[in-house]
């Protein structure tokens, strides 16, 4: 619409007169000015997030009075777009879930844009200060080969969100899941960003992730993690199981260990402050995902207004935990061999007692935050011991 051709009725005297003449003399024709007033807010007042997201979906699972009518076109075979069969879990009201951070689109991208802007400034400062000169060159080989493997882990976990986004039958949930998937995509890309940046300041460091991919595909350190990620990605058809298996089991254990306890903790000991900085963003995304996962899976679904439904949900989530925990522990056990690949021992970090403490931190946190609220009993000491059978000391 060009300036020369567009007609703006708001400035046109004839339109203004006609509009004024057409307006009802009594003024506003209704006093209810709150969009979505019929929704039950989570807090005291309806938030903008709830107004802009709530009940956008046309699903038969919506609360009475908000959606009436059949799906007008279905999948081959007759299944509707969003069907209760998409998950084993049940709910009296899938719309009870609200993102703990109340993210609709604008606040979500605003945060991410700020992170991106700060990343740019950080990298410029890092390169200008020559900070890389204090990095142990042997450690850079670990960054290239081993740390780079996380690109593929995060990519696989990102891919695990597609079907969950598609099948989820409630809008608040769907939007939250899509953002969790986008964060995982971002996490994979941030590791590649780090790689490309290192290549720019140190051309011998490859931008090409080929070395890391080779390690991800062939090295025993990642073999079990890769297998688990493949199953998380493609072998889970239940959208809620997808979310729990990724955000309730694998990522809080394996993901948190490799990100926080291994790479972020060890890198600075070799002079590398860049890696923990990059990972700090992913760790933030982890906490965001954790809030929503814990709220949905350990609070809302287990306390459904229908007691039978609540009990059923707890049984199912526990069964999923039992299903995914062994492979997750196996993945972490195999990863323990990574310590032997480090350039040198680090006192208080890489010895068996310190590593045991690291593993115990992660598993204790997991038990407290995810397992205990469900009444899922776990012998943390036994799990730690099992993981540590994979530990190989630096020679």
């Amino acid at each position: 619409m060009s300036e020369s051709t567009a007609k703006h009725g708001i400035f046109d005297p004839d339109t203004i007169r006609a509009t004024e003449a057409a307006l009802p003399v009594e003024g506003a024709l209704d006093s209810q000015r709150k969009a979505g007033y019929y929704m039950v807010p989570e807090g005291k007042r309806l938030t903008e997030y709830e107004q802009l997201c709530g009940y956008a979906i046309h699903t038969n699972d919506a609360m009475s009075g908000t959606e009436i009518g059949d799906y007008q076109q279905k999948h081959a075979g007759g299944r509707g777009a969003y069907s209760p069969e998409g998950t084993e879990l049940k709910s009296s009201d899938w719309f009870l879930f609200r993102d703990p951070d109340k993210r609709w689109f604008f606040p979500y991208v605003k945060n991410k844009a700020e992170e991106g802007g700060y990343t740019k400034r950080y990298l410029e400062g890092y390169s200008a200060s020559g900070e890389i000169r204090s990095v142990n060159p042997e450690w850079l080989n670990v960054v290239d080969n081993l740390y780079g493997g996380l690109t593929f882990m995060e990519y696989g976990l990102f891919s695990a969100h597609s079907a969950a986004t598609k099948d989820c039958p409630a809008d608040f949930l769907k939007i939250w899941i899509s953002m969790a998937g986008f964060d995982k995509n971002d996490a994979a890309q941030m590791i590649q960003t780090q790689r490309v940046f290192l290549n720019k300041i140190l051309p011998s460091f490859p931008a090409d992730p080929a070395n890391a991919k080779d390690v991800w595909l062939t090295d025993p350190i990642y073999a079990d993690a890769r297998k688990t990620v493949e199953e998380l990605w493609q072998d889970t058809y239940d959208w809620a199981e997808s979310i729990w298996s990724v955000h309730g089991v694998f990522d809080p254990i394996f993901g948190q260990f490799v990100r926080r306890e291994f790479f972020s903790r060890i890198a600075p000991r070799y002079g590398d402050n860049l890696t923990p900085w990059i990972q700090s963003q992913t760790l933030t995304y982890f906490e965001t995902a954790k809030k929503g996962t814990v709220k949905l899976m350990t609070v809302i679904l287990p306390s459904d207004s229908d007691e039978k439904v609540a009990e059923h949900n707890v049984r199912v989530i526990k069964a999923w935990t039992e299903k995914w925990l062994p492979d997750t522990i196996k993945s972490l056990k195999s990863f323990m061999a990574a310590y032997a690949q480090l350039p040198s021992a680090i006192e208080g970090v890489t010895d068996v007692d310190s590593v045991t403490a690291s593993v115990k931190r992660v598993l204790t946190d997991w038990e407290e935050d995810y397992a205990a609220p469900l009444g899922f009993e776990v012998d943390v000491e036994a799990l730690v011991a099992e993981v540590m059978t994979g530990y190989k000391e630096i020679k």
């Binding site: 619409m1 009725g9 708001i10 339109t15 006609a18 057409a22 009594e26 209704d30 209810q32 709150k34 969009a35 979505g36 007033y37 019929y38 107004q51 802009l52 709530g54 009940y55 046309h58 009075g65 908000t66 009436i68 009518g69 799906y71 007008q72 076109q73 081959a76 007759g78 777009a81 609709w104 689109f105 604008f106 979500y108 991208v109 605003k110 060159p137 042997e138 080989n141 080969n145 597609s162 986004t165 598609k166 099948d167 939007i175 590649q192 940046f197 300041i201 011998s204 090409d208 080929a210 991919k213 390690v215 991800w216 062939t218 090295d219 199953e231 493609q234 072998d235 032997a340 690949q341």
Partner: protein, 532 residues
Amino acid sequence: MSENIQKKGESQGLHDVMSASRVPTSTKPQEVHKWLQDFSWEFEKNKTKYGTKYDMAVDTKEQFKLTAKEYARMEAVKEERQYGTLLDGLDRLGVAKRVNPRWAEIAKAYSVFIECGEFNAISGSALLWDCAKSPEQKNGYLAQVIDEVRHTNQAAYVNAYYSKHGNDPAGHNAGRQVRSIGPAFRGVKRAFGDGFNAGDAVECSINLQLVAEACYTNPLIIAITEWAAANGDEITPTIFTSIQTDEMRHMANGFQTVVSIINDPEGSKYLNDDINNAFWSQSSYFVPLIGLIFEYYGENKIEAWYKTWDRWVYEDWAGIWLGRLGKFGVKTPTCLRDVKKIAVWGHHDMALLAYALWPMNHFGMTLPNEKDMAWFEENYPGWYDHYGVIYDEWRELGCEDPSSGFIPATWLLENGHVPYLDAVSAVPFCPSLAKAECTLSIVEHNGKKFAFSSPHSERLFLAEPERYEAQNWFEQFEGWEMSEVIRAGGGLRSDGKTLMAQPHLNGGDKMWTIDDIKKAGVVIPNPLGLHE
């Protein structure tokens, strides 16, 4: 088994960190994006969870090469501008109260209808994200998923803004709730909902990206801004032109979807059928609906809808856009000529039926006034003798006056005009009243009857009946008296008795209440029941 990491490192050599450059630098998104194709790997179970007859190529690239952070940066700037304009400039100018009341009324409908499409496109894009093998394509579809979250919020914002600042919040404040008792919404659900995410992934992409976005967002989201502005509405253009900036990437996604399947000879033999089917089922609903929105609610009119349709759909989309895909074997949809005919009279047919069932909406309707009628006759010769006479008769029977107890829906049946809903597109049609081409056929399947307005719809149904066996609006409310439907759907204003829907926009004591509807005693029939 590869060498261990230490040995790998030794064979790669040590990096001379002292030689590192101290020139300040960062990374450009394209420099990161170029490596995305390396992120995936082959493994036995790596196939989509949704059935598709197409094989999407693993090396397909995306046209817009955005990383997640660059995407966020770009979109955050757009959001700042858009909401800044709304909350600062437009608020201070009091624009919501300066919109022509008819236009403000239809904004209750088009915004919540478009929102349905945007929301279901989240799932449609996620379906494609799952089916794509190429990491770049997955990246592009994921960006679209998040875009559609944006568009859902934006469309909702139109209603929220009008609700807070406009002259009549009723309907803006409850569109998502009340829309579902309206017969019009069923077609929206199909064309702008289920068609995007219930089916073969590539077929859904064709519905969503190739037809709805590349073809119909131009008139629906761009042309509408011109009509809106002409009628004093600067809110819709502020939001909708911003929506459309993302649609460019979605059209590119659709283009690349075709590119990704074109080398699969088995799959690509279905492509033109899928395009034809998508174009028919979307167009048979959208074409009349968009024309109705523009011409019956725009007091200040821009141009005849069939001219807009010709320009955007016939020439631009079917000619230029599909022309670019011609090298991939894409052909013009065989139903194009039939759809072109709908563009002339289809919206007039729909407007008549919509007005007849006015109490079932969450927005008001008006009879065409003299100025409207003169314009219609000038642009559609013969309009008055077919439609104008009916509207005049309804006016005389008192359709605007609650004391008359007259609802035009009863006039239809009393005069032998039976309305049906097409089982595939959900478009309402009335063969005895239609001036657009319209042939009634009824098929019985699984003990139930289904009506079709065209052989195109019937063919689609017979190929895959289980996909279209749905309870239609008449069947759902058969036997209900109208006021019961309105109460069940929440269609009352905050006084608990005045309808959100009205047959005029004059306000005052001529507004219909739920008691007026109850007195009229209109019981919803099932037209297919007349064919026992």
